[in-house]
């Protein structure tokens, strides 16, 4: 829209009562006072925790099925990651899938929780979990290797179901 077109609309025909200003202030104040008695929205964080819905994008995790990761180390997630947070090094395995990630590392300081890795993965092997408590005291702690990334499939079933229902 051009600047000329967006004119400011002022209500000119205020009634006398409105122009007196005081009744309007009283109206506003009754609203504020009424608000004081409505329930609060605050979550008392350390005691109460927010339980995110399945659509929530928490930290990305690797799905572990029958004791091994689903990942086939194709490297697509690493390629698509806009923050360059993922490092995958492939290795060979005797299993049917033939390849597995020897090293899989996500730098949680870099990750921006965009979910591209999850979207691009052909094996549904990397998905966004519901974990959001990620605070580190030094950068080394933020490098999540396979030990921290692997999560049994049962724990992320809600997210998997959500993904299926939206495919």
């Amino acid at each position: 829209m051009s600047l000329e077109k967006s004119t400011i609309i002022r209500k000119k025909d205020l009634s006398l009562l409105e122009r007196l200003y005081i009744p309007e202030i009283v109206k506003g104040m009754t609203l504020t006072i009424r608000q004081m008695f409505t329930p609060t929205f605050t979550t008392q964080y350390p005691e109460e925790r927010f339980q995110p819905p399945a659509s929530f994008r928490g930290r990305p995790v690797l799905v572990e099925e029958h004791g091994v990761e689903r990942c086939v180390a194709c490297g697509l997630c690493s390629r698509v990651c806009p923050a360059l947070a993922i490092e995958v090094q492939a290795g060979e395995t005797e299993l049917g899938k033939e390849r597995y990630p020897e090293k899989f590392e996500i730098n949680m300081i870099r990750c921006i929780f965009c979910g591209f890795c999850e979207e691009v993965c052909p094996e549904e092997a990397i998905i966004m979990s519901q974990e959001y408590e990620l605070a580190f005291t030094n950068p080394q702690d933020a490098l999540f290797g396979k030990d921290k990334l692997l999560v049994p499939i049962e724990k992320v079933q809600t997210r998997l179901d959500f993904l299926r229902s939206n495919r």
């Binding site: 506003g28 104040m29 609203l31 504020t32 608000q35 329930p39 609060t40 929205f41 605050t42």
Partner: protein, 342 residues
Amino acid sequence: MNIIEPLIKIALVLLINLTTVAYLVYAERRVSAFIQNRVGPNRVGPMGLLQPVADIVKLFFKEDIVPTAANKFVHSLAPLISLIVALSTFAVIPFGNTIHLFGHDFKLMIADVNVGLLYLLALSSLGVYGITLSGWSSNNKYSLLGGLRSSAQMISYELSMGLSIIGVLMISSSLQLDKIVVHQGNYLMGFIPKWNIFLQPLGCITFVVAYFAETNRLPFDLPEAEPELVGGYHTEYSGMKFGLFFLAEYANMITASAVITTLYLGGWQFPFIENFGFSPLAVSLLQVAAFGVKIALVLLFFIIVRWTIPRFRYDQLMNIGWKVMLPLAILNIIITGFFILL
């Protein structure tokens, strides 16, 4: 002359005043939180009641930064002026009727000045020096703008404030504050307490609005308007000097509510208390309590107004001051004079 008595009174009033200031800050944060459907400070101590202590300790441990280009002397003087003025206004406020204890009569006010009302007006306008000087001495354009706004605002609102007080003066024909309070002890038509708010509602409204501008509270907090002026006059202040401005603002609020209570809400008058047959001492104490409750309600009003009404634009502020408030205050004098003549 007895010097112990005023000293004790000063100590007591200061103590109560400063504690109230601390808890007023807490109350403001808590009430604003409730208004915005939040919880507010609730971690330090039970229900967050120790929050003011934590705040003050924090302010004491903050680094005190004075800008190199600032005028150092005035820069440290300004917060002191603000606070001293805010606290000393309370000296002439009567917070209770004369009380009879241990064979003595104690007047429940620090200084029974016979021109109390003038003293009050004089001091409350002095407070603006603190703000203007802090704005000037910081050598910062935003601070300076805040200070200038404050002085311009003061000039425009002092007039209508003084003029609305004249109505009260005409009714009670005294400048002495406790006389004004005593004068509000009767009843209108037998059941309405003869408070000045009922006698001159117009004057009360103009006075309250002017006093809001005087204390720099929203909707008239242009000297520190955060969205435009960073922090306004106290942009360059930190540590306890900033704390002093903070204290001064809230002390001013308490004084303002005490003044509004005294002039318009009947001061320490407790309506119909003479009908219950309490002992004189109990009556006096109840009257002091009534004064406290009235102040608390006015303070609550201050807080709720702050979270209801948005800040005025500067030209609107000036418009209201000169084109609305001033004529209204004069009209109030004319009406009052008319009724006195009748």
